[in-house]
Symmetry: D2
Subunit: 353 residues, 4 copies
């Protein structure tokens, strides 16, 4: 509880470091921290980009443009209250071990998201590093669990929007938890990796799929989340579409409606689930989510309908993969861990058109 | 059979008119006709654009830029062997009635696609105009049915790619015909209509959905096609995604695998179905369709996988909504009706990147 | 001075109305006002969209989604301290006359930007409504002129970036003021107007020009701005490019270098001009502006080089056409008029990638 | 003349190899060759992609998808009548030397474009390999010079469109040859190189500049071309803009009008220059080029205007950088070299929207 107490002291700001600051996750964490009234931005580190100016990688972070990136070492990261990690797969555990228990570490990577070692083996392979408190406050009971913790695993972007799109229907038992997710994502979701299929000339003007047939690593994370409702036998078929846009995820999530369920039941379940959520916005009936409704904001827009003819609930959710899908939920969880107001520093209006 | 005989005469080209030439469907028909060795392009007509130069609307059709658009009247369209219709919903029946039976009419609109009046009522409303021979030669027995006809209803773009993506699995009884389609389309699929949500500033950089919950008009057309396999109780849940691109559809089509089906069965069914098809290309294992693989071409790229963990077949197909999705299949069907080689004038290589 | 005094009173927020709230300019004003600590958002009005929810038009403005748009009338707009106008060409004068002199009116349209009636006649035609204080604080002496005013003409987006890109070179006499501007803009610059060439299917994947040959209405505004340096005979050739993006302007602005000018002179002039400007950021040598460096922010990124071989200074500037190009500069000017800190509520970090 | 004679023999097709087939230039050469009636596609080679299927790199080339890429060696390239080179900078000379003089080699790279060794030194550095006949048939006298040659240097994409946009005005002496070019290009112009700034997430939704200030390597090539008109003292200021699109270049090219020149002189000069050109299309007055007018086609669209107020001719041209900008002009030049009809196999209609 030390961390939480510390932040609660009047006028005391937290000193925050970002490891992996030249990547997309790191850049978005910094963009949001610049607007957060209770943090001071400390060390920024990188891998191969260490030694360069932040402005070379993130020209949009004008106030930080002249900051020079350090190495991701214990020395550089020491002396901070909070450290965000935007590191390559598998690298977080070692850095965390070096930093000790009195630092709040928020990992934007996947290493500590799954609780089930078997699922880890199946989808990631290699040794399972363990699990940290999961940074999706909108899950049942999760908000409370995040208070005062010193380790947070920020969720994957697809799991966040997929889960929140269908959670009320699964939670209220309105559907069989045999869920089909098809989600279109902007290409920043793949990170800043130099792969031929991510070149602009390839992705512009076209849609493609990847990780088809039940192999995408975010699949067990969605199942893990939905199982928290108590539903038995949750199964998720997940297909991601790479869409020609930089940011945003639009998820269509459907499942067989249980007999006797009607449209009013569905609407009521979603309203009950989300009316008090600060960042999940159930759209008015007839209006459907679009990614531009949430770009740059920490909001989730959700809508659901019952297709009575074929007996299926079809829900749709939209998030910004870098904001609510990564950095926003990370900071939201940090706020909860530090005892700050949950929404502090988090934008609720997006940037559009 | 007069039409067919006529075209078969050596050296005889067909004179072709296009009604609705300033729209996207009409423009694509013209693009393809420019490369067709057995047609002569005759009258071009339009609605409110009558009197203007074609080059104002389709600057890419350089060789036809100075053609002036006529009115869509019986007089202007008379004297052609083939007339393509790219008209607003509900307008085709009257034009067809004026033109008589010795003209091949290919309707790129929806008016004559459905055979079931009840389905028409449910999804379109209003009076059902009837049905014409359906211009998707890849359906069972359809190629033969198109020989010599004088009326063709070109299929909808979503039904073409959705059907062909899952047809082999349904036809071979490998899945329950309880199909979930989520398809991302370029915005040209909405035609050249001036609606706020189709403005460039709205669609660029974003994904949205529309017609969610079982109301999109292409739904019964997909069911009608899949039922031709003899499968009972075909049900389709269809959700279209508007993606930030001009052209192309990427469809993900999934259905519950029947017990005992394995990956080899699936591959074999697709290979058997498509090995001899000139325009449907089953990709090598591990390679998945992308819309840039087919842009500007009449090809369909298809791939399928079995997700054994959740018991679901996931198939993906890609087409160009304007080529194989509209104008290409229309000309392919015209070729069959006229007794010409099926692929005459139809591009098999796309334009990429 | 009444306005300025009023806002300076401790704890007193200004009540702000936005006329034309469903358009792009109005939406961006609202996005920024949501983050402004000293305003309360009052009436929102529209033309044909009156009566509808704001969320239908701007789903990204989640906190205001349920606001209903009123008519743009004197009654609805009365009782506010500040009124922003995002109205069609020619409509601002009448609304302003109704509102009286004790209201600060900030016009995002062109009606009051030009001081020269002859230039108005040539480029706009019709009667010249007059001129209001020009809302570009970075012009020589302009910051001071805006203090306490009750009318502001927010600049055009192209003039803002074009002017600021070359102003130091012209002001220091390093170039002949015979300026060639070619600027690529996102399509939101054309507003939310339903024109065929602005449809997504038209603009995506393509670049086009418009207003070529010296006829674009922003031309005399750039000349007017540059003449404020005292330079004689300013002439601007301006060509806008419509680029396939929603937001952002990238301007290339060049002029003949005067004899003897070297690269150090150039750098020094820009540094002197902009080192103390809060929103104009001269990039480090070798780094060039890109629109993603400023999207969603009120910043201008600028760089310049001397091409010694051909004797030409080439400068480049980037802005977000809706933020610094419209709503941001409008609020920056409002802050000056009200005596608030100039940068209050204005984002300095952009949203990228 | 042996090559030319050979191709003229009735029924004789040329066997063509493509080195660098997995790159964008190589892919576009292949797309066009697939539609060329007088060639047979032979060996396809690559660098690091040797051994892989062509379909992995160019899924749009469906008919060639199963072709396996060979190494770029003398053995593999032997036995062809024509070899296209799409190789990295500096690699063409050695391959050409190995192939001998009885093979027509068309180089899509820059190595042999410049005639002036000094210009080479200034802009490229290193040793100048020499110059080959320049593959832009629209230059004065160039069509004739290409007949029967066995080496062709295909022009750069920017030089082609920049030159053809202003050539008539320079050639007719209507302007001072003090030319300012600002050209927006799709990102495929940078090739398939894995550079961070070419990632989709970076380029989508944004415009940037590069090679500013007189350092872009295409600059002396434009000057070289314009000097062929006999104009003295040609100087070009060239600034490229990277636009968020895969293909296409839109060039704005302006120069000071000479005294007494009027709009009719200008129109007449362009009409005279281009009325008989098969691929250069002067648009009707008032219509301006857009890249979608030429995507996928070998056409150039051109328009020009006189801005009398500031005394400047502003011309605009559009090409597809991969077609007329690279592969199309290469094949057009090949046709001339082989004595085939100049336009054989070259598309004149583009693909739009």
């Amino acid at each position: 509880m030390r961390l939480q107490v510390r932040a609660r002291l009047a006028g005391m700001t937290s000193r925050v470091a970002v490891a992996g600051a030249s990547g997309y996750a790191g850049g978005e964490v910094l963009r949001l921290l610049l607007g957060h009234p209770e943090v001071e931005i400390g060390a920024l580190t990188a891998g191969s980009n260490a030694g360069s100016r932040l402005g070379e990688h993130h020209p949009h972070l004008t106030p930080l443009a002249d900051r020079v990136l350090g190495e991701t070492t214990q020395e550089v990261l020491a002396g901070h209250d909070v450290v965000f990690l935007g590191l390559p797969h598998g690298a977080s555990a070692e850095v965390a071990a070096q930093l000790g228990d009195d630092v709040l570490i928020v990992d934007c990577g996947a290493d500590f998201r799954l609780t089930d070692s078997q699922a880890w083996q199946t989808f990631y392979g290699g040794e399972h590093a363990g699990s940290w408190p999961y940074g999706l406050p909108e899950l049942p009971g999760q908000r409370e669990r995040l208070a005062g913790v010193n380790r947070i695993a920020a969720p994957g972007c697809f799991p966040t929007v997929s889960t929140l799109s269908i959670l009320p229907a699964v939670g209220a038992g309105l559907v069989d938890p045999d869920v089909v997710v098809v989600a279109a994502t902007g290409t920043s979701g793949a990170g800043r990796s130099l792969k031929p299929h991510l070149l602009g000339a390839e992705v512009m003007g076209q849609a493609s799929v990847y990780g088809v047939g039940g192999v995408h690593r975010h699949t067990p994370e969605i199942e893990q989340n939905l199982a928290l409702t108590g539903a038995d036998g949750v199964r998720v078929s997940f297909t991601p579409i790479l869409a020609p846009m930089s940011r945003g995820i639009l998820a269509t999530v459907s499942a067989p409606a249980r007999p006797g369920v009607d449209a009013d039941d569905l609407r009521a379940a979603y309203a009950k689930a989300y009316d008090d959520e600060p960042f999940v916005h159930l759209l008015p009936e007839g209006q459907w989510p679009q990614t531009k409704g949430v770009l740059g904001s920490n909001c989730v827009h959700v809508q659901a309908a019952l297709d009575e003819r074929v007996g299926r609930v079809v829900a749709v959710g939209a998030i910004d993969n870098l904001t609510k899908g990564t950095a926003g939920t990370a900071i939201q969880s940090m706020n909860l861990a530090l005892g700050l107001p949950e929404g502090l520093g988090l934008p609720v209006a997006g940037v559009a058109p």
